[in-house]
Amino acid sequence: MNDKNSQKIVDIIQNWARKHSIWVLAYGTGCGAIEIPPTMTSRYDAERLGVRGAATPRQADVLLISGYLTVKTIKRVIRVYEQMQDPKYVIGFGSCTINGGMYYDSYNTINVLDRYLPVDVYINGCMPRPEAVLSGFAQLQKRIAAGRATGAQHYKENLEWYRANQKKIIPNWVMPDYNW
């Protein structure tokens, strides 16, 4: 019984640290990536919240899908997501990840992101402003602190469902399997 409590305390402390140090992967997948430089630079400065850029998937915690996702990009995004280390989160950025946005009838862009990747926080808006991006990070921090940011967990549990959806739109699937 007491190891459950001690585990809870360790989780609280670890979640506190994960909340205050979020490393965003430097991967601008869509047109929303233009609002990341203003968020990271001097006026809005996301670094004071502990949000910093990370160069490779191994070092990153958050994968920011900034805008629409074409079929060619989602194949690389899945590969990048699976390379990231475990407590990882996905932020869907812009209305194109929520319901396809203005390219809902395009033959090359997916419409709903959480069919293919577990999304923790959605930021709506067609090109959300830097303030919206910061509120998205604050929302993610709240979920991390409360321990409800379990997208990676959900991905692991029903991997077959995600794989089925992904393989439906990606024709030749030449990817290593996901060994978390």
Binding site: H20, S42, D45, E47, R48, G50, R58, Q59, D86
Partner: protein, 298 residues
């Protein structure tokens, strides 16, 4: 008694090194007129990295790479006397430790290079070649400076040099200025901040050798990096600024020296590998030669 002293030294080095890293980020932010993270941000980052659930590695050597870095910085810490004559920080320094120091300081990056080589990621492979070639660059002025002060004061141990400074009353910085200048210019290369950060250049190589390290390994690299920074600073204080006899003096002197690479890195573009080597074999080597001449003649 020695064991306890060593542990306290390591904790002091870790805490001070991490706070210096946090202050570096704060000062850089202020130069870029933004607020910047709190000074203890590096501790939070380190703790988050340590508490990552998965630790992906590509084989034993890659797993041990960061450990080599930590070994190198801790052993260097044990040799460099932190405070002049206080029984709390006894250090195992001995007669020929300056020469041993030269060897052990390059042991860490070599171990890291082996680890990075095994990952198979081309970014880390090219990063390793760049790191080693740049190390050749800044080693030459650094060795010249050490050789000059060794000849001038006929001793090869740090405590001997500190005793010489205490006995002659003037800091080595003034009595052998060329060696000091060569050593400071070599320090810019050792820290690997902006003009010489071609090794971990994010824009070209996606953070070079560390591109496959995440979680625990990055934690080990980060903490060994800050311990190594503290050790280098105290080494410079002992060699050229007459050592410190209490903690406050130590912190003031080391922070003053730390400002040189930090401020220079904020306003300088990154050198390519051959440009940085060519720069190191330019002015710093010239001052190293002058230092040796001064040591031999006078």
């Amino acid at each position: 008694m020695n064991i306890l002293g060593a542990v306290v030294t390591f904790l002091l080095a870790f805490v001070v090194g991490m706070t210096y890293g946090g202050l570096n980020r704060k000062i850089t932010a202020r130069i870029q007129n933004r607020k910047g993270p709190p000074f203890y941000q590096n501790f939070i980052d380190a703790f988050k990295l340590a508490s990552k659930k998965s630790a992906i590695h590509h084989g034993a050597m890659h797993h041990l790479g960061p450990a080599f870095l930590m070994v190198s910085s801790v052993v260097t810490l044990m040799i460099v006397p932190v405070l002049t004559h206080s029984q709390w920080f006894p250090n195992l320094n001995f007669q020929g430790d300056l020469i041993f120091l030269l060897y052990i300081m390059t042991f860490g990056p070599l171990g890291m290079a082996l680890g990075a080589g095994q990952t198979g990621n081309p970014n880390s492979a090219i990063g390793v070649t760049r790191g080693l070639s740049q190390m050749v660059g800044f080693e030459i002025p650094w060795v010249m400076a050490l050789v000059a002060i060794m000849i001038q004061y006929h001793t090869t141990s740090i405590t001997g040099l500190m005793a010489a400074q205490a006995q002659s009353g003037t800091w080595l910085m003034f009595s052998s200025p060329f060696a000091f200048i060569a050593a400071i210019l070599a320090m810019l290369g050792m820290f690997g901040y902006s003009p010489f950060d071609v090794v971990i250049a994010p824009a070209e190589l996606a953070s070079g050798p560390a591109s496959e390290n995440g979680g625990k390994y990055l934690f080990t690299m980060m903490s060994s990096g800050s311990v190594f920074a503290f050790v280098k600073l105290t080494l410079y204080v002992d060699l050229f600024l007459g050592g410190a006899d209490n903690i406050i003096m130590l912190l003031i002197k080391t922070f003053a020296l730390y400002m040189i690479p930090v401020l220079y890195s904020n306003t300088s573009v990154r050198y390519r590998t051959e440009q940085s080597i060519r720069w190191f074999w330019g002015w710093p080597t010239f001052f190293g030669l002058l230092a040796i001449l001064q040591a031999v003649i006078f």
